[in-house]
């Protein structure tokens, strides 16, 4: 095993971590601000990938396709919030889980109905294809590097938005005391829509960017949703930095596990064990964290 290979896997891990952050940012925000657990959040990731794939084939311009995909997932998210989901914000978690589980099943079948059962493949845009030499004699795919950078920049933007703007201040205030924010004259319904739409758009952006690297197909958002849940459990909902740190840690552990464990356990058992690594990490975090008792307030 060479140092170069190790570094390459590290960058891959950071790339997965940034994608996870784009997914879990929406989850933590809607969970923190609206106390809403959304199982259909992975559907936005899937829809983003499908929108980008269709638009790229249609317009021939990938950048344009990604922008359109973000706008489309934003619209779908906004519409869902307006028509269905906002009535769930005050409901029990059981209701939320069941309703969004239903939505997720519906979305997974809907994309088959609209775009067919065959997975779509998106070409890497010519400008970003090829590889660049990072270290002498060692090249890395340019596209992966670009989406990692784009992901990190979006993460920075989200952090700036939450930590430095007036909207971010309202979101943080909403997360710590919803009633108080609304009593101070903030239109909480609009705030919820904005938060939900932003989360959906971030997930859609991640899906759109990952499109050229994977097969765009139904159910592609499910697995990453569950990993995003692990991020939320490990990172907590207290801060954007916590979510970012947990995303990167889990991205790196997962990628490194996939790289190192097969070397130890062989290529049949190793990958499956690698898939378990992040959950073991979650178990360790749970063990070391103080036990949280039920909130005093019934809901």
């Amino acid at each position: 095993m060479t140092v170069e290979l190790f570094l390459e896997q590290l960058v891959n891990g950071i790339q997965l971590g940034t994608m996870l952050f784009l997914m879990s940012a929406g989850l933590t925000l809607t969970f923190g601000v609206m106390n809403f657990l959304n199982l259909a959040h992975g559907s936005f990731y899937m829809l983003g990938a499908f929108f980008a794939a269709i638009m790229a084939a249609w317009t021939g311009n990938f950048l344009f396709a990604v922008i359109l995909a973000i706008i489309c997932t934003l619209l779908v998210g906004g519409l869902l919030d307006l028509v269905i989901l906002r009535r769930l914000y005050s409901r029990s978690h059981l209701d939320q889980v069941l309703a969004t589980f239903g939505l997720l099943l519906a979305f997974n079948d809907l994309v088959i109905l609209v775009w067919g059962r065959e997975p779509l493949f998106v070409a890497i845009p010519p400008l970003l294809s090829g590889a660049i030499e990072i270290l002498p004699g060692n090249s890395y795919p340019l596209y992966r590097l670009v989406i990692t950078a784009a992901g990190l920049m979006t993460a920075l933007l989200i952090w700036l938005l939450i930590a430095r703007t007036r909207l971010g201040m309202l979101i943080r205030a909403g997360a710590s005391n919803r009633e108080m924010v609304s009593a101070l004259g903030v239109n909480i319904a609009i705030l919820f829509s904005v938060v939900f739409g932003l989360g959906a758009a971030a997930a859609g952006f991640a899906g759109a960017m990952i499109g050229p690297l994977v097969a765009v197909q139904t159910g592609m958002g499910d697995e990453i949703l569950i990993i995003a849940f692990v991020v939320v459990v490990v990172g907590g909902i207290s801060s954007v930095q916590g979510t970012l740190a947990a995303s990167l840690a889990i991205g790196i552990v997962d990628t490194m596990g996939r790289f190192l464990l097969p070397k130890v356990f062989g290529f049949t058992v190793g990958p499956a064990l690698a898939s378990m690594a992040i959950y073991v990490l979650m178990a360790v975090v749970l063990l070391t964290r103080p036990r949280v008792s039920a909130p005093a307030r019934a809901h």
Binding site: F31, N35, L37, L39, I84, R87, L88, R91, S92, H93, L94, D95, V97, L98, A99, F101, G102, L103, L104, L105, A106, F107, N108, D109, L110, I112, L113, D222, I226, F229, V230, V232, V233, T268, V269, A272, L273, S275, M276, Y279, V280, M282, A283, L286, L287, R289, R291, V292, S293, A294, P295, A296, A298
Partner: protein
């Protein structure tokens, strides 16, 4: 008084209908009913958790899968008697639930949902790693026998499952009515109050979680015998979601609810998939509609429908 008489009559008719399924139905319908009852058994434990303990586990398939794989493991080792496999599956799943529950119950609410989902996913990958059992392709297992009775006969298998289902319903009824069940409900109502009365809420919830896991393992082992096959799909998170749907569909917090829910679910699936390949789309929308149309949530809706005055 009339209400309790009416509900007793309804329960009697329901059980009678289940008892005569193989006599009036063909072998396909009997198999369908067997599948429904096996899922129903799996969901009985979840009903204890969700309906009485207020613990929303989204990882119930984990224990169903462990039960199935335990039965398969014993079957491949030459032990295919259900007298051996089923209790072993129950025990193995219960132990696993004790471990996963001990970690998951450190958190509550939405975190608990996410953690149980994540641990089930971990076991899903774990089952893929068992190359001896075919990895992600699964492995064939024996149908098994009961004290010399060959279970390849669909009717015999149905009555075995029916007997297990009845015993499990009775067990869950006894648990709910016991002191343990009352404390569990008290914790669900108000955990802080129960703690201040001196009950160790964590331990009570953990024991309930282990019992629920054991019962799911029971269902899983029967599923392995029924299909003569196990695969990682037994651990799949969609199955965990479907278990929750069965519990809600049948009326949460009633001991017979999971069986009723499973029958409704299997029937719905059967009818929808006969008309369209996009039945998941319809099912998802039906689920969404059920939740959205109950203004105060499914818990109250169903408790009212089942005449539960405690709601």
């Amino acid at each position: 008084m009339t209400r309790s008489l009416a509900s007793k009559t309804a329960v009697g008719l329901f059980l009678l209908a289940l008892a005569i399924v193989p006599l009036i139905g063909n072998s396909y319908q009997t198999r369908l009913a067997t599948v429904a009852l096996v899922y129903g058994i799996g969901a009985i434990g979840l009903n204890l958790l969700v309906g009485y303990g207020g613990m929303i586990s989204f990882g119930h398939a984990a224990f169903f899968g462990i039960g199935g794989y335990t039965a398969a493991m014993l079957g491949l080792a030459g032990l295919s008697s259900v007298v051996v496999t089923v209790p072993c599956a129950l025990f193995a799943s219960g132990i696993a639930a004790l471990g996963i529950g001990a970690l998951s119950l450190r958190m509550t609410g939405a975190y608990f949902i996410m953690i149980t989902l994540a641990f089930a996913q971990m076991l899903f990958y774990g089952s893929v790693a068992i190359t001896k059992f075919g990895g992600d392709e699964g492995v064939a297992t024996p149908r098994g026998h009961l004290l010399g009775l060959d279970l390849h006969n669909g009717t015999a298998f149905y009555y075995l499952v029916f007997a297990v289902a009845l015993s499990t319903v009775y067990l869950s009824h006894r648990i709910v009515a016991s002191r343990f069940g009352r404390v569990l409900r008290a914790i669900n109502d108000n955990e802080h109050r129960a703690i201040s009365f001196g009950y160790n809420a964590y331990v009570y919830k953990l024991v309930a979680f282990a019992i629920a896991g054991g019962i799911a393992g029971l269902g899983g082992s029967l599923m392995a015998h029924l299909n003569e096959y196990v695969a990682p799909s037994l651990f799949h998170w969609v199955l965990s979601g479907e278990f929750l749907v069965l519990v809600i569909l049948g009326g949460m917090g009633t001991v017979l609810g999971p069986l009723l829910g499973a029958i409704l679910f299997v029937l719905l699936q059967e009818i929808l998939s006969a008309y369209t390949t996009y039945w998941m789309l319809i099912l998802g929308l039906i689920l969404l509609t059920i939740v959205m149309s109950s203004s105060k949530g499914v818990i109250l809706l169903l408790k009212r429908a089942t005449g539960d005055s405690r709601a």
